[in-house]
């Protein structure tokens, strides 16, 4: 077990990178606590799989170092780093039984028979696959195969970190939540550092104590699920987390106040010294339909069962609001109010207001 530190990491897939665009990962400095559950969340192409492969040793970074505790492991091969990795599709040895699959990593390392038997039955019980131990792995369903893949990673007790690369991709949607909760349970029992890479916010927010949000090779924000939802530091985080995502509205600044479509908007607090193009960020959950406020026309109402998603236009800007109560009809004129302590200004994408104390 160890703390994992990434120092000045940069990576390019090209032999001679010239500009920032040639880098898949641009300057990453991160420390992962020992035993923590982390998620790497971001859209396709943001660099999360590259980062994962650098940590596991399947890829050597162009620049920077990786430390496991005190050791510099940057150039070490995967089997020398004591890591485990679960891939997008189940990777199992088809010709072996489940038991043999789970035994394999231990046998290769010369662990004695007694310890092997004990570990295998422990892991099988944790994963609820004890009845399948002597069936051939090739005949199992995808979710069971994926469990075996995970089991192979967890059966060793010297594992520094377990990494999951979008492991629920091939799982039937109806079974996904079962495996999600199984993973969380596993983390609590095994207490190993676990890093979960995904583009799905539900998977990330459910599993992790802390989520690392990435975009275009850069870490945009690290925080707990609550922090990321309640106070996104970057418009990308606000947009990516939450369904529907945060509204990002163009605005002007006049001194200390924000003007949106000609209307004065109350913000959560004073503006910071940051510069850049201003935008207002407010989540649809915090926009309500009222008798006074911004004049808007409703363009579409979707009944999503537990609430309504209202598409409206204020002046020339489209935005969304979420309402638990009956919504106005499409085409009607309404007034919208923004909850002040959830209304923020972002400049060049980064948060530029402070919460009022």
């Amino acid at each position: 077990m160890a703390e994992i530190k990434l120092s000045h990491l940069r990576h390019s897939y090209l032999p001679n990178p010239s500009g920032p665009d040639d880098y898949a990962l641009k300057e990453i400095d991160l420390t992962w606590r020992d035993g923590g559950a982390y998620a790497l969340l971001g859209p396709s192409g943001c660099g999360k799989s590259t980062l994962l492969n650098i940590i596991s040793g399947l890829l050597a970074p162009s620049e920077g170092k990786v430390f496991f505790g005190e050791h510099d492991v940057t150039t070490l091969a995967p089997n020398e780093r004591n890591i485990a990795q679960v891939f997008q599709f189940p990777v199992i040895y088809d010709t072996m039984t489940v038991r043999q699959n789970l035994t394999f990593p231990l046998k290769n390392r010369g662990v004695d028979e007694g310890t092997i038997a004990r570990r295998v039955s422990e892991i099988a019980e944790m994963l609820e696959v004890t009845e399948m131990l002597d069936t051939r792995a090739a005949g199992l369903s995808p979710d069971n195969k994926q469990k075996i893949s995970m089991g192979r990673g967890l059966v060793r007790d010297d594992v520094n970190v377990v990494m999951f690369d979008e492991p629920l991709t091939v799982i039937d949607p109806h079974l996904k939540w079962k495996l999600r909760s199984k993973l969380k349970e596993l983390h609590q029992r095994v207490q190993a550092t676990m890093i979960y890479v995904t583009h799905d916010q539900t998977e990330a927010l459910t599993f992790a104590d802390e989520v690392v949000v990435m975009q275009d090779g850069v870490v945009v924000q690290i925080g707990t699920p609550v922090e990321l939802f309640e106070r996104p530091q970057h418009t990308f985080v606000g947009h990516f987390i939450g369904s529907p995502g945060m509204n990002v509205l163009p605005c002007d600044l006049k001194g200390d106040r924000a003007i949106f479509e000609g209307h004065d908007i109350t913000l959560e607090g004073p503006l910071t010294a940051r510069g850049g193009a201003p935008q207002i960020g407010i989540r649809p959950e915090y926009i309500s339909v009222a008798s006074t406020g911004l004049p808007a026309t409703v363009t579409k109402v979707a009944d999503v069962g537990r609430h309504f998603v209202i598409d409206a236009v204020v002046g020339n800007t489209k935005l969304k609001a979420v309402s638990e109560h009956k919504a106005p009809d499409a085409g009607s004129s309404v007034h919208l109010t923004f909850k002040p302590d959830q209304t923020r200004v972002y400049r060049d994408g980064w948060i530029a207001t402070e919460a009022r104390k």
Partner: protein
């Protein structure tokens, strides 16, 4: 897919005629001959199954059959592992891939009688490179026109040279389709290269290997041109394989009845062994 009309079948008719003319009719003729006796002049006498009995009992046939099985057995035992090893050593990405693929394909492109002629000259004691090298440089007596062992070794080496590429290319196709994640998982599991071969590569190559082995079996069992051009079946009849013997009886001696019976037996054996092979190799897939 439901079609409105059956016009497509008419397009297939010419091919049907061609196949019937070239394959079915001659086949029926052979069956016809195999149960009759002729002394020329187009006179035929019914013999029933006598020819079949005679052939199956004849020592000559049994000896040729024995040689054939020996040949095929040795060929498979060498070409399959060698093909796998070469496929494993070939690069899977990069500049050398097309170069290797072309090099592998070259031996199979040469017309078969040219292959036989090539090796014939190659192996001649004074003139051929191999013959000269063996006799005069290494001092080993090597003359395939006189020594049965030398003849056998030469036809085997010739076939290995000619056809291992087929096994290589098929296995390579199977190997290339294995996703990287399997190798990565093996690295993480600290698996040895032998384990990687046994548990990842070999199982994934199983389908293509089945095809490769089946093809090599059928081709080597029916082989004619190359050994015939190389040794003519000699010295004596030491390299007279089944097909060579069959041609001798049919065209050399013009014994149509026995020859026809022998072809049918030959065909039946090939079919039976291929079927057994196939069932054995695919039984795990049930």
């Amino acid at each position: 897919m439901r079609t409105e009309n059956q016009k497509a079948w008419f397009f297939v008719l010419p091919v049907l005629f061609l196949v019937a003319f070239n394959a079915l009719l001659p086949m029926m003729t052979v069956v016809n001959y195999s149960v009759q006796e002729t002394f020329g002049n187009n006179q035929f006498f019914w013999e029933g199954l006598d020819w079949f009995e005679q052939i199956l009992r004849s020592e000559r046939f049994q000896a040729a059959l024995g040689r054939q099985f020996l040949f095929t057995g040795i060929i498979l035992a060498i070409e399959v592992p060698l093909g796998i090893i070469i496929a494993l050593s070939m690069p899977r990405k990069g500049f050398w891939v097309p170069v290797c693929l072309v090099l592998m394909a070259l031996p199979m492109l040469i017309p078969w009688n040219v292959v036989g002629a090539m090796w014939n000259i190659f192996a001649l004691p004074k003139i051929g490179m191999l013959g000269y090298f063996m006799n005069d440089v290494l001092g080993i007596h090597y003359d395939m026109t006189q020594d049965p062992l030398a003849a056998w070794i030469t036809i085997i080496v010739m076939d290995v040279w000619h056809w291992t590429s087929l096994v290589v290319l098929l296995c390579y196709a199977g190997l290339v389709s294995i996703p990287d994640a399997y190798y990565q998982a093996a690295k993480i599991d600290a698996a040895s290269p032998w384990s990687v071969f046994r548990y990842i590569q070999l199982p994934k190559m199983k389908t293509v290997l089945t095809i490769a082995i089946l093809l090599r079996f059928m081709d080597s069992f029916n082989i004619y041109t190359e050994p015939f051009v190389l040794t003519g079946g000699g010295p004596g009849n030491s390299t007279t394989l089944l097909s060579i013997d069959l041609v001798k009886i049919a065209l050399g001696q013009f014994d149509l009845g026995p020859a026809a019976a022998m072809s049918l037996i030959y065909f039946a054996i090939t079919l039976a062994v291929s079927w057994v092979f196939y069932v054995v190799m695919t039984k795990d897939d049930q």
